[in-house]
Assembly symmetry: C2
Homo-oligomer: 174 residues x 2
């Protein structure tokens, strides 16, 4: 059985939406997905707001109750009948995220057992056939095939295969 490793943030959990919401709460401006095309949050906010955004990621609660990316639950469930699924998230950079990420998985992906959740940093440690991720840097030393999941920040990157939605993941792998 082939194995798929799947990232969390911006692939199954909507981290962008959380930043947009918190930024609006703090600075009264709603950043749009259109503005973010090919850019990071750091590029579109005022320089004096950047420290605050960096702080968000280390704030207890940032990773709590994130919205689920559309279609991910259904497609991952279907994939889990044909492939071995691991959720592999670079949580080590954000220790305040550990419990929230774990609880989030239990709530939204209860069919993924705890044995198949991985908190890591450098994803070259992952032994899988496919890695679905929004950060192509994780593919550089990955031993399998990287599949780039579209997120505003990576739209200008050249990577094949790229998937724009969970519907496209299903088309590619099911």
């Amino acid at each position: 059985m082939k194995r798929i490793a799947i990232d969390m943030d911006e692939v199954i959990a909507d981290a962008n939406l959380r930043i947009i919401d918190w930024y609006e709460r703090d600075f009264r401006r709603r950043i749009t997905f259109e503005e973010l095309q090919g850019k990071s949050f750091m590029d579109v906010v005022l320089p004096e707001h950047r420290a605050k955004i960096r702080e968000y990621l280390h704030t207890d609660g940032f990773f709590k109750d994130m919205a689920v990316i559309e279609g991910s639950q259904e497609v991952v469930f279907e994939l889990s009948k044909k492939y071995e699924i691991f959720i592999t998230t670079a949580a080590m950079e954000f220790p305040t995220s550990f419990m929230h990420k774990y609880e989030w998985m239990k709530e939204h992906f209860p069919f993924i057992p705890w044995s198949h959740i991985v908190f890591c940093g450098d994803k070259s440690i992952i032994n899988a056939d496919y890695l679905i991720d929004d950060r192509s840097r994780h593919f550089r030393h990955f031993r399998g095939q990287g599949i780039l999941f579209t997120s505003p920040h990576n739209v200008l990157e050249d990577w094949n295969p790229r998937v724009n939605s969970w519907k496209e993941v299903a088309d590619l792998l099911l």
Copy 2:
């Protein structure tokens, strides 16, 4: 550069000693390492105490301030000059351990960056050349070479290579 994955509990962190100490605190009997040869804690305690021992592992604080296994810091440091080192621990079974394990690593192995710490369950997800672990079950689907680190519970197991101490790890790999 070859890569070594190293388990935490009973390999670099003395989980056995923690159970022995807590068991003595609660039941006024000190279990010895001699009694544990070839056995698990469940085998040597009274049946009515087993639930309590299972509970220890899920108790906040169990993984905090564990003693460091003799020689591990020095040898892992030397290994880190010749190999890429990842610490790979099956933390997912014990969510209360996340922060304690992370802090423990920062305190006792500060030369291992957060990017090289992995909390997982099923270790077949680990992509490394060697895995030093006290549980041989993790070697079954591991793609590299498993190296069994002696712990009382595994002394009767037949596995080659086996190392009885960090001195022996140094002899084998340095």
